[in-house]
Structures are given as structure tokens and as C-alpha cells.
Point group: C2
């Protein structure tokens, strides 16, 4: 079946949204009839010349909204709804049948446009060698030690009351975090400055609820992190792009009414650049001059390989201008959902209030186990071990890329868990590379697939062949084989 | 030291905020000097004739914002800040010294006024017999079974990837929840209708972000649950009171532009009334007629004692008008921070998107353990056991109240974990009762202390002697002794 689908690469609407919309329209006007099979995702991706991830995500939404049904190996079919109208048709006010009395429920606009970020690999479980970003190696999780600690934490909870905790988090964990960031990131703070969150994502929401309203100008690194951009724009922010060069984000070109800036100084996402000391001073000065606030997302600063990193931006914050976000998702496991916020004193009460409003505090069990893990020094030891392992993997990746593709090294290799690599001239753009690699059991990701925010939906020419290669979750031999397969997939073997 | 403090009971500002503000002013203008000791909380509560909880919360804020320092048994002292100015003075633009260059960071108004709700008992660890509300008995937590399940969940996670999960929650848990609410609450739904949340509080936030914006009219039971009122007003809602009678909340007097209503049908908070079948039909009709949406908070419906309860309101929802909120905080432990949302199909994608924006999904370990606990039927068995125990405790409370105070029985005893009891004529109002009881090691709570929202800050006369008595966490003999001590405290022994 050949569908009359037309996607526009230069549209303001994402490819995924366009695809979803066209299917909905064709189901709505009867061109696609109940019970008809729709094309397989692989085939459609090839036919349209787009990434299979894009097709998968559009299909996922069609299924979730009740337009399409998956029937295992047979494929995907238009649902036979026998007269009932899928929810979103009704919500959009299209084609509500006469018998249907309920108008759509009240619904203020969710200030959120564009692509949703996704933290799971779109190829999870489907490829053998997955260079997905920001994923620690589960094989290096300190499972035995953790079991003992969770066990002990459970015993303590049994004797305690297992009830609601402090909204700001377990005091013992806040104390341990304060000591940790003091030693590891140069931040002088006490336990009252620390707020335990359900990961950095919740921390960003707390910041959003405190500081961002409709029309608030928020500076974003461009390219930058989509997960943060989405949070701010969901509160109605106007996102202002800020260029990133070899020293990191540059403060000079932000509009004068912008007083909030989101930064990833340790390992800029996605470029991997470490912000220079000079630039850090410039940002602190920027914040002082305009009474602004810097949001420092220190997501993967635990990993540095070529000498000690600069202290956190927050470490130089003498005026209470920096809100710091940290996490255990990269160093231990994202499944824990534990991160932390270090807030300037004048925002402390407001931040705890918002955290209480949002979740009444974080889960107790893991906080207890984590506190002990930090207190015993095991966490510092674990980080040391990870750094050693990840350094070898980073080296293996660099060697494999040089062996198979030659040319310039990848950027951002001095720290973190991924590099940004520009495929050599002559290779196809990222969506096609993704498809070719996937066919060989290898997951690689261009900017669009890897949660990258760009001010302009159209990528600059030099970004079209950029891939983000996460190396932390693969061992050295997997990395070598994965890159060899990628090379074979594009005829460079 | 006698402080010139003047509180106004009829002010729009809460007593706690008034107290905080007066201390800040006196510190600011030098009447209270650095190093001076401020009065002990007990004494000040007595002097001012207010609840000690009010004083404690005001002091907590003074400490957190850096005005006051606790020095253990010596008491509380004005900080000796040596020239530095506490944050909120600067933020409020008062008295910023010349040397201080930074203006306040940008900060849109957090749409939140009045009292913050608090889920921890204000007397936690300080009284022997605490009738705090909504607290399950930690001694009845199935600790042994839970340890085995967490252990197994950890083993599975070790083999899995311990990485980010689906934002909507572990599929296995969503399936188990769908089966549970089908059997226990009559709700016909599948796993895709279920969204795992970090407790009901997060569920309320998801609803708020989906449906509430500045000026949105939200109907609230009055008296009602402060934790929900605070979430909605934090998004800028206009809260409209809805009277509660012996059949539950009544839909007839809500303004015509109100299309969102928050309800606790199973066991109205705080009155304990179960909504009648007729009233349920009326609410569903109300929602259909105006294209509205009902938010059903089913917080403690697991517990019913005098025959099976009515099915959930959601069970009768044929038009996708009801959003259902459930939790494991009351049946297992609030420290788990696991609840769930059952959303109408037209809101499903939007709800998952918001959940992803807020926390990237809930922690994995506990979800795995919980799924297995439900699947094995252990959860249903556990609930059965709890109901038996809590029924005895409810009876013990009723008997003790009758023995010591005679008169009318408490309201709302047919279900839930607390009753609403009106102290007999001649007894003092709730704040004084709280203080007298606390002096005897007993925690009891008037409406203001127990997270009750009232449209009018001034309580109706008949509420002034109302106490909420939570009985689930105390055994029968503790309940008897606690009530006897209360009686003795007020001269009724």
C-alpha cells in the first residue's frame, strides 16, 4: 500500500508530528479504513527517507491515542472502533457524533510545543551495540553493596515510622550530599542548602515554578539540552539562544531583559565543551550585573579523565546567583530517581514549599541507603572506579573511530559519558546513518534523536552529520565492534 | 523578656505568617538584637493563646531563612550575622546594605497564598499518643514480605539495565493496578489508562498542569483538603467552595463557569462523610452537562468497616469525565511515595507528557516490588488484615470517647483512618485543646492544624471545637489511654 504522505523538512512542525497528523487526517476522512494495515515502520522510514525513530514515535502516539492497534507480528492496523471516536478527535472538536453529549473538558494550553525529550533509548532492547547517551553501565552498578544498604535501610525504616519525610529530603542524605559536593565540586554549603529531588528533571521543574512564568526570558545554550528547554517552555518561557564556542556558552549576546540562564558548564550538552575559567567569571559577572540567576546543570561532572576538572560554577558564587543541579542517575542508576538542588538562601523556603507542593518529598528507602553509601566513602570509591573504566572506554572509542574513519577526533572527550562526532564528508546525514547502523544492530543518534534543543528547527549544515556517541554503557570490545559495524554499514569497512 | 507581639485572629494573614513577620520586623529594626534569645515555643504559645504548632512553624521558617539560630537546650537566638543580611530581607528589598550589589533574582509570583499543608505530624516524636491523621501503623507494614520482594526486584534490576523507565510507570505495575482497581473499586480500565505517580500529590500536580491555569475556577469541598487546594491555587486557580452535607458535596451551588471539581467521595476529608449514590449520579450529570471534569481523590478508600463501600465515582464514568487518584501511602507506607492516576483517554498522552516533563518517571526498584506484591494477591490479603485491625481501633476510639466524654459519636467512622469529633460544650477551642493535650503527651488536631481548607479563613462557630482523630497508627490500648489523658487534661477524668 502506498500512502499519500508528504513531509516537509523545513516545516515548523516536527516530522513526527506531521506524520501523526497525516495518519489522523486519513483515518478521519476515511482514506484509511478500520481494519486496514498501515506500513511497517522500517519500510515507511526508508520510503520517506526519515529516521525510523521518528516513525516509531509517531506510531506509538497513534496507538496510545486509540487510532491504531498493534497485532504482534502481523503489524499495525487502523482500529475498528464501531462508531466510537478516539479521544483526541473529540477533544479537538472534530467530528463529535450527535449522540456524544460531553464537550471536551476544560483545558488551558499546556505551554509546550515541539518534540518531547525521551530518556530511554529509542532502540532499547533492539540493537546489540547501543551508543545511547547518558546511560551508565548497569554491569558496574555496585549491586552487592547496594543490597546490603537497602536491606539495612529497610530495617531502620521498619523501626522508624516509614511515614512522610521532610519535603526537603532525609537530613542524613542532605548532610552527606553537602559534604560530597564540597569535596568533589568545591561547593561550600550545609545540609539546609540541599534539597533532595526525584532527579534533575524535578529540580528543573522546581526552578521553573519558582522563576519562570509566561513570557519569562530564559537563556539556553544552542545547541542545548531539550529536557530543560521543554520544562521552561512548559511554564511559558521565551527561550533565547546563546551561542556555544570552544570556551562554552558566551554571555555577550543575550537580550538585556533576560535574567535567567541555563548552563551545563562541566560538559556542555551536547557539544561536550568544558566552560573556560574566564567564561565562568563572565557568567557570574553577568548574573551580578543584571540581578540574574544561573541554573547550573552538572549532570555528568562525576566523570573526568585528563586531570581534575574546574570546580562547579556554584563554587564561585558569592552572591547567591547560582542554582545547582546534581544527580545520582549517571553515577549509580537513573532508576533510583534521586538528584539534588542547591539553592541560594533567599530561595530556600520557596523551593522547599514547591517541592512539598509537588510530591510531599522523595521516597525514604533509597535516601537512607544512599546516605550510608556516601557516608562510608563507598561512593567516592565507586566514582573513582567508574572513571577508570570509562576512561578506557573513551580511549577505545577514539581509537575505533580513528581506525575506521580517520580524520578529526570527536569533541568533548575530556569528560562525561559521550562525545560529539562529525561523520566524515561523503557520509549521509544523521537520520540515514541511524537507519543504516540500526540495520547492523548498532544504535547511533543524531542531534534530533538525542534530546538536543536547537533554537532554529532547521539544523545548521555542519550539524547534519553529527552523531552523539555514548560510550559509558559499552565495554571496550563492544565499542570496537560497534564502530566497525557502523563503518561497514556505510561502506567504510 | 516580654515581646510586643500582636496577633490578629481575624486577619487575612495566618497567625504563623503574622508571627514570622513580626519577628523579622523586630530583627530588622533592631528591637531584637543579634545574640538575643527569643522566647521558648511553649511559653510563647501560652502567652499568646495560640497553638504551639503555629509557633513552631514560624520559628522553623525563621531558622531556615537565617534570622534565628537554635542552640540546643539553650534555646533560640537571633543570629549574629556580622553585617550580612539574611536573604529574604534582600529579596523583599528591605535594608539591602550599600555594599551589596545583587538585586533580587527574577521571580514571578508563585500563585500560592496562605498555609502550606504538612504531611508529617507537628508532634512527631514528641508525644506518646499521637492521633495525627492519615498515618498507617508502621508496625503493620509487611516488612518481611517486602524485604523479599525488594531483594528480588534488585536482582531483576541488576540483570536489567536499571536505567530510565517508561514515564508512565512500569508496565507490570500498571497492569497490576488496573486489575486491583477493577476488583476493589469497580473501575474497568487497562494498563494504558494507569499512570504511576510519586503519590497523590504528584497526581494532583499533573492534573493541575493539564487543566488549571490563572483564573481557572476549581470547585473545592468546604471544608476540604488543603493539600489539593494548595496545588490548584499554585497554578492560579480561583477556588470555589462547595458545601458538604450528610450526603457529601452538593453540586447545586457551583458557579456556571466552573467545570472542574475536586472530590473525596469515599470518605470526605475532613468530615468523613461517604457520598451517597444519588449525589454521585448528580456529579456525573453535572460534569456531562457542562463538559466538566471531576477529580476523584480516593485517598483512604481501602479501609471500610460496616459493609462494602460504593464503587468509585470513576466506576460510573461513561463519558471520560473523571480523573481518579489512588495511593499506596495509606495502605503500605507514605515513605514509598507511590500512587497512581487513572485518566480519561483524551488526556492520556498529555498526562504522560506532563509526567515525563516533571520527573522522567518514578523509581524502578519499588515499582517492581509492588507489582509482584499485587500480583501474588498479597496486597489484597494485607488490606483485609488491616481492615480488621483498624476496625477494632475505630471501635476502641468510639468506646473511649463515649466513656470519657459521653454525648454524640464522632462522624465518618464507617471508613477511613480518622473521625471528626466535636468536643462537648464547655471545652475550650481546638488550639487550646491541642496545647492541653500535648502537655499530657497526647497529639490531637483541630481543623487548622490538620490540613483542612476552608473558603473563609475564619472557621464557622461549630468547627472551633472540632478535632480530627486519626486512629490507624495506635493500638487499642494506646487509643484508650490517649483519650483518657485527653479527658484528664481538660478536667473530665
Amino acid at each position: 500500500m502506498q500512502l499519500p504522505l508528504q513531509l516537509q523538512a523545513d516545516s515548523r512542525e516536527s516530522l513526527q508530528a506531521q506524520l501523526f497528523g497525516q495518519f489522523v487526517r486519513q483515518i478521519g476522512d476515511g482514506r484509511l479504513k478500520p481494519g486496514m494495515r498501515i506500513p511497517a515502520t522500517r519500510q515507511l522510514a526508508v520510503d520517506l527517507g526519515i529516521s525510523r525513530n521518528t516513525v516509531l514515535l509517531a506510531y506509538e502516539r497513534l496507538v496510545a491515542e486509540g487510532y491504531v492497534q498493534m497485532r504482534g507480528p502481523q503489524g499495525a492496523f487502523v482500529v475498528e472502533h464501531g462508531g466510537a471516536v478516539p479521544g483526541s478527535l473529540r477533544a479537538a472538536g472534530q467530528g463529535a457524533p450527535a449522540g456524544e453529549r460531553a464537550p471536551a473538558p476544560p483545558r488551558p494550553p499546556v505551554h509546550f510545543k515541539g518534540r518531547m525529550h525521551h530518556l530511554r533509548s529509542p532502540n532499547a532492547g533492539e540493537v546489540e551495540f547501543d551508543f545511547w547517551v547518558g546511560r551508565p553501565d548497569p554491569r558496574l552498578f555496585p549491586a552487592r553493596a547496594w543490597r546490603v544498604l537497602v536491606e539495612r535501610s529497610m530495617q531502620q525504616l521498619r523501626q522508624g515510622d516509614g511515614s512522610y519525610g521532610e519535603p526537603s529530603g532525609l537530613r542524613r542524605l542532605r548532610e552527606a550530599v553537602a559534604r560530597h559536593v564540597g569535596a568533589a565540586r568545591g561547593i561550600a554549603c550545609g545540609c539546609d542548602d540541599v534539597l533532595i529531588t526525584n532527579g534533575i528533571q524535578e529540580g528543573l521543574n522546581i526552578v521553573g515554578r519558582l522563576l519562570v512564568g509566561p513570557g519569562t526570558a530564559v537563556g539556553m545554550e544552542s545547541p542545548g539540552y531539550l529536557g530543560a528547554a521543554n520544562v521552561f517552555s512548559s511554564f511559558g518561557a521565551e527561550l533565547l539562544p546563546c551561542r556555544v564556542d570552544a570556551e562554552g556558552a558566551a554571555p555577550d549576546d543575550l537580550r538585556s531583559d533576560c535574567r535567567l540562564m541555563y548552563l551545563t558548564p562541566a560538559h556542555q550538552y551536547p557539544s561536550g565543551v568544558a566552560m573556560s575559567a574566564r567564561r565562568r567569571q563572565a557568567w557570574l559577572q553577568w548574573a551580578r550585573d543584571r540581578g540574574g540567576c544561573l541554573i547550573e546543570d552538572d549532570y555528568d561532572s562525576d566523570f573526568y579523565y585528563d586531570g581534575p576538572p574546574l570546580p562547579a560554577l556554584k563554587a564561585g558564587d558569592r552572591d547567591g546567583c547560582v542554582i545547582y543541579l546534581g544527580t545520582f542517575s549517571k553515577s549509580l542508576s537513573a532508576g533510583l530517581r534521586v538528584g539534588y538542588l542547591i539553592v541560594p538562601r533567599q530561595l530556600r523556603i520557596a523551593a522547599i514549599t514547591v517541592k512539598g507542593l509537588m510530591t510531599n518529598g522523595s521516597p525514604g528507602l533509597v535516601q537512607g541507603a544512599l546516605a550510608e553509601y556516601l557516608e562510608r566513602g563507598d561512593y567516592a570509591h565507586h566514582l573513582h572506579r567508574l572513571r577508570k573504566q570509562y576512561a578506557q572506554r573513551r580511549d577505545a572509542l577514539g581509537a575505533a573511530l580513528a581506525r575506521c574513519f580517520g580524520g578529526a577526533a570527536a569533541v568533548g572527550a575530556q569528560a562525561g559519558m559521550h562525545v560529539l562526532w562529525q561523520a566524515p564528508d561523503g557520509l549521509p546525514p544523521a537520520p540515514e546513518l541511524e537507519n543504516l547502523a540500526r540495520a547492523q544492530g548498532v544504535g547511533v543518534y543524531g542531534l534530533e534523536s538525542a534530546n538536543v534543543w536547537l533554537h532554529d528547527a532547521r539544523q545548521p549544515e555542519h550539524c547534519r552529520r553529527c552523531l552523539l556517541l555514548g560510550y559509558a554503557a559499552l565495554d571496550c570490545s563492544q565499542i570496537a565492534t560497534g564502530i566497525e559495524r557502523l563503518a561497514a554499514a556505510v561502506g567504510r569497512a
